[in-house]
Point group: C2
Chain length 170, copies 2
């Protein structure tokens, strides 16, 4: 009868490389790049008692002023319960205002205030600077290519949403 006690599994001492056609290099780089990309605004947000979720809401409300709560949930892919606390805080602190929908009065259109616009720009500034620097390192023709790459990384179903150009409202 075999030993049913716990046999320690054997350690594998060889590193995974880019084997099996798996691109570990870019997987890892993407992780580091995104982490550092979000680190600058994260630090600034802490001063307001805000987190990354507030940034995202603020970003999209500034990009698509007048979007409804439902549209925002759709873009962010979160539930309304998750949004509730964050949105309430942004409204209470006068970064965002809600207006009753003109056609459908059940809807709440979301707009940034001057304060909310200013914060969104302040948060985006270091991120944009980082991107700009990274693109310089890569040559001028790189921008279109990087944009194409990032775009192709997004699920196809969602691309329509993204391509929708930010519009001014009413």
């Amino acid at each position: 009868m075999p030993d049913r006690k716990r046999v320690p599994e054997l350690p594998i001492r060889t590193a995974v490389a880019n084997e099996d056609g798996i691109d570990f290099t870019l997987i890892e780089l993407f992780f580091f790049a995104y982490r550092d990309f979000t680190s600058d605004p994260d630090e600034m947000l802490a001063d307001y008692g805000f987190g990354r979720a507030h940034h995202r809401v603020l970003h999209f409300v500034n990009r698509r002023p007048g979007l409804t709560v439902a549209e925002l949930l759709e873009v962010l892919k979160i539930t309304k319960q998750s949004l509730a606390r964050v949105l309430k805080q942004l409204i209470d602190t006068d970064h965002i205002v809600q207006l009753q929908g003109p056609r459908d009065r059940r809807q709440r259109e979301l707009y940034p205030t001057a304060k909310g616009r200013a914060l969104a720009l302040a948060l985006a500034r270091p991120q944009s600077r980082r991107i700009h620097t990274a693109l310089q390192d890569v040559g001028a023709e790189g921008r279109a290519l990087v944009e194409g790459f990032l775009n192709a990384m997004v699920n196809p179903e969602l691309r329509a949403q993204i391509d929708a150009p930010p519009r001014n409202h009413e």
Copy 2:
């Protein structure tokens, strides 16, 4: 005497574009790209009762077998209390084993098991496929450029860490 009651802030109805030299397009794309990039493994991990943190630990232990707990904390930039639960679960489920450091017996070297290696590869597969497809859309010469871009997005202090090629241990 001015009204001290709450005056509703005025809504701004114009969308932020890529004004002030701020690259909102790429900021937004980077957000969507990373979200979808992590969505495939996230779904798989749910089947194990694991989260994204488990994935990251598994990834780096497979990439740098034999790294110590302190080295792992340094790479992930989290605290040992955050790591504790996740690492314990991975050890209890035989995805990772700990060996006493040969030189310094206080250290715990972390190694993947066959099971842990298999899971790491399974999680990386859809991510790699996504990257591969995105690169195809962008042309063959694009890969080096994308790698350069992502690399330049990382904080310079950390680049040494990344460039350290995954090594086989002992």
